[in-house]
């Protein structure tokens, strides 16, 4: 039987993303690689930053001090919460938390496009397909066959490139292994980041880079006070940046 309640024991894997804000230059390679990998369509001519389909968005946080310290660029994919606010609100179970990977999966073919999950997500990492996906003639041939194209009127979001996990699992199976080789499962954004600001791995493995990085004093999570338990960690050597970004923000408009 399917279970909707999250397993109380720690999942076997906790795929985790760590973003080193010191390194991010806001170049946009992560978002581009994500769009290429996940068959995200080109923009409609009327699209704006509020109506576009972007799974990996890089936001610009204002300078850390009035004196104008370095700007922080904050790449925001789906935070893959352990206690996701979106899963419970979906009226027809188009969102699923997989306790074995910690990935919050969105199933666009099940989605009716009510957008309740978007209202529920405090990170605003979900996109609604306001337009039909369209590619110029011939460009469909460049689509990634490992990812299906989502139609108009459904919600979609980052799923940590789960197709790469699927491929890694198949490869492990073909080799007769039970566990995947961690090197085989790297999301497109992490692979693409030219300044290597993104780390990805299984935090259930205590020795993994992400487990170590996510636990040190420089790491924090967005809106941690809301108890959503994201598996995307941010880190900065600057305590001001850490303090500023880890707040629950209702800034003065």
């Amino acid at each position: 039987m399917h279970t909707t309640k999250h397993s109380s024991t720690l999942p076997a894997h906790r795929y985790t993303l760590v973003v080193d804000l010191d390194r991010c230059t806001g170049c946009g390679a992560c978002g581009t690689a994500c769009a290429v990998e996940n068959n995200i369509p080109p923009a409609n001519e009327k699209a704006t930053e509020r109506t576009g389909t972007v799974w990996m968005r890089v936001l610009e946080a204002p300078a850390s001090s009035a004196a104008g310290g370095p700007t922080t660029f904050v790449p925001i994919p789906c935070q893959q919460c352990d206690n996701p606010p979106c899963v419970d609100v979906c009226p027809q179970r188009a969102i699923e938390y997989d306790p074995r990977t910690g990935i919050v999966g969105q199933i666009p073919v099940r989605c009716l496009g009510c957008r309740y999950c978007m209202v529920a997500c405090p990170y605003h990492t979900r996109s609604f397909n306001w337009w039909s996906p369209e590619w110029p003639a011939g460009m469909e041939s460049t689509l990634n066959p490992d990812v299906s194209v989502r139609t108009r009127g459904v919600v979609e979001k980052c799923n940590f490139c789960v197709q790469r996990l699927q491929a890694a699992r198949a490869k492990a199976s073909a080799a007769g292994q039970k566990e995947i080789d961690p090197a085989d499962y790297v999301p497109a954004c992490v692979e693409a980041c030219p300044s290597r600001a993104l780390y990805f791995g299984d935090a259930a493995d205590e020795k993994s880079e992400v487990a170590v990085l996510s636990k040190d004093g420089e790491s924090f999570r967005l809106l941690a006070a809301l108890g959503t338990g994201p598996k995307v960690f941010y880190r900065s050597s600057d305590p001001v940046v850490r303090e500023r970004l880890s707040r629950t923000g209702v800034t003065r408009g």
Partner: protein
């Protein structure tokens, strides 16, 4: 016997029919199929075009020539990743490169020659293209006001030799674009060397502090993300070992926002600010005295010039508080070697005087040969070079004189502005572009001879001129060009012949020339290893390596003997005048996608997407154009 059919019978029969349908698969199967139908996306269905394979090549979209690892199904690449350890890019790849495989399907892609006549754009066949071009070629040289000029965005390639030969044959000009970004500073510094002009590169890993006068060192400059990575890695090291980036700029650009320190200055006062720093360095005896003594000349003259730029005056000129100037100069001196770069390819270049001041500052900080190593060009075929036309700098292109302008596919509008080109043209000039796109300069051409799109042809790629070491890749094609694509080089040759001119046969001796030099190492991406070039047995073996996406990297060049002039003949008064003169108006700045301006190709539609759908980028000019037309 008469059959009476009542309403009751009709109802019963209807009921029977309903029961019959209910007992057949119709409703249940239809329900299931309709349910599936509602889940059917009216979208393309991507299917693998063959088995999965990885292939290596290099990106040709900008001079950085990053290594590409292409994920292909059959012959179709569907995505790229960077190649860690690649000599040209060290694992970096920018958004442009990540979408290179889309460009062949770009809506602006042209696959047939196009001619603009009477304001109307029409497709023409190969013969018509040849005829048009040969007529124009034949007309050249007869009238000194209608000369031939060819602009080559990437000089030094084998194809460049053809263009030089063509310029020679027509008595025309072979034009090269100005240096981009940091290269301008390096050029200015290199020219101060008395042992002949030096080619210098930038090695960020050897610098502790980087001062950038508007150069997007954090967001762009050479290898994508390299300085940002180096700086971030140094952050967790002891304070003395940290790399710091100081951006000196009139506006808070993205690079300025990212920098450790941002020093806003009045526009056009870079020279004054640099001289102010020099003043403090010399006044407080903080400059690299050993380097100055051993490798420079004209210190006294320069010192007396710099003495005029006390921080108080600098504050008055630049708007930067005197304390900030002093503190910055002391910080630079405290963490040598430091590095100063100036100019941004996407905005107005710095004045020659500002570059001169920046060059002197680099000397005071002892940058040459450390963070600014000497580099040698990649080996080329030498034969007959002397007979070919030499390069005319783009700035020297005479106004109103060009009757036939040939723009190579590598010419990017960002470095070769159309407005400037237009000034060089005479009335009724034929502008031929070899760009595969009906965008950028390709859109401006009156005769478009579209060539292979990026990744559709084997390319000769040298790394950027500001890289610490020369690199060379003969990058294999990943995509098949469209069938019947008339190759522009062939059309040009045919037209040349038709015009009664002769051109030497196309050369393919680059690999041989490289092998003959026995310099450097070659990187094999599939093995992720380097091999000394000397160990390669034959040109064929080298060609095969290149066909697998290999990249050659030069050995470090020895430090040359000689001195840099802190000031050159008669430079001091000009510098003084420029630095003390009124600040110029704020340049109209374009914040662009990384390298957009120096790429000849329009951005992929996915980049246009990010421009439209995120707040991160302000729209680059090309994306705006595509938006307007879409």
């Amino acid at each position: 016997m008469k059959l009476e059919l009542s309403r009751r019978d009709l109802f019963l029969a209807g009921g029977g029919a309903v029961a019959g349908i209910a007992l057949s698969p119709v409703p249940w199967k239809l329900l299931d199929d309709l349910a599936i139908w509602t889940q059917q996306p009216s979208t393309p269905t991507p299917r693998p075009a063959g088995p999965l394979a990885f292939r290596h090549t290099s990106c040709s979209l900008c001079p950085a020539s990053c290594g590409l690892k292409a994920r292909c199904f059959g012959a179709q690449p569907v995505g790229f990743s960077a190649v860690p350890g690649h000599p040209a890019s060290d694992g970096g790849l920018c958004p442009l490169g990540l979408t290179a495989h889309h460009l062949a399907k770009h809506p602006f892609r042209a696959t047939l020659p196009e001619r603009v006549s009477g304001g109307k754009r029409e497709r023409i066949d190969r013969a018509a293209a040849v005829a048009t071009l040969s007529a124009a070629l034949a007309a050249c040289g007869k009238n000194p006001k209608r000369i031939f000029a060819v602009v080559d965005g990437r000089p030094g390639r084998s194809l460049s030799r053809t263009w030089r030969a063509l310029a020679t044959a027509t008595g025309g000009l072979y034009v090269t674009p100005p240096a981009a970004g940091a290269s301008r500073s390096l050029e200015a510094l290199g020219k101060r060397f008395d042992g002949g002009s030096l080619a210098l590169g930038v090695d960020f890993s050897k610098a502790r502090r980087v001062v950038s006068f508007g150069t997007p060192v954090l967001t762009d400059a050479g290898t994508p993300g390299l300085l940002a990575r180096l700086r971030a890695e140094s952050r967790r090291r002891p304070a003395a070992e940290r790399i710091e980036v100081i951006q000196v700029e009139a506006t808070r650009s993205r690079g300025a926002a990212l920098a450790d320190r941002f020093v806003p200055i009045a526009p056009g006062t870079e020279a004054a600010f640099a001289l102010g720093l020099a003043h403090v360095l010399l006044d407080e005896k903080l400059a690299d005295a050993a380097f100055l003594a051993a490798r420079t000349s004209g210190l006294d003259e320069f010192a007396s010039l710099a003495a005029r730029f006390a921080p108080a005056l600098v504050e008055q000129k630049t708007g930067v508080p005197a304390g900030v100037v002093t503190a910055l100069a002391r910080d630079l001196a405290a963490s040598l070697p430091a590095l100063v770069l100036g100019g941004d390819p996407a905005s107005a270049p710095l004045s020659a005087e500002a570059e001169a001041a920046i060059a002197s500052l680099n000397l005071l900080l002892g940058a040459p040969f450390g963070p600014l190593p000497v580099r040698a060009d990649a080996p080329r075929e030498a034969d007959g070079d002397a007979k070919l036309a030499s390069a005319t700098p783009f700035d020297a292109l005479p106004d109103g004189s060009v009757g036939l302008l040939l723009l190579d596919a590598t010419v990017a509008e960002g470095l070769v502005p159309w407005e400037r080109l237009k000034r060089a043209l005479s009335d009724g000039a034929l502008v031929v572009s070899l760009s595969p796109f009906r965008a950028g300069l390709g859109e401006k051409a009156t005769l478009l001879l579209p060539g292979p799109a990026p990744l559709e042809a084997m390319l000769e790629l040298e790394g950027p001129s500001d890289a610490p070491l020369s690199t060379l890749a003969l990058a294999p094609a990943l995509l098949l060009p469209p069938k019947d694509l008339p190759l522009p080089e062939e059309i040009v040759r045919e037209a040349t012949a038709a015009a009664g001119l002769s051109l030497p046969a196309p050369s393919s001796g680059r690999a041989a020339a490289l092998l003959a030099s026995k310099r450097g190492r070659i990187y094999d991406p599939s093995a992720a290893s380097f091999e000394p070039l000397a160990g390669i047995a034959s040109v064929d073996a080298l060609a095969e390596l290149f066909a697998r996406g290999a990249c050659w990297i030069d050995d470090a060049a020895p430090e040359p003997k000689g001195r840099f002039a802190l000031l050159r003949e008669g430079e001091a008064p000009r510098l003084l005048e420029a630095a003390l003169g009124a600040p110029s108006a704020l340049p109209a700045r374009l914040t662009t996608l990384p390298r957009e301006s120096v790429s000849a190709a329009p951005p992929s539609l996915l980049l246009t997407k990010l421009t439209r759908e995120t707040t991160l980028f302000t729209p680059p000019a090309a994306a705006n154009a595509s938006a307007a037309r879409a």
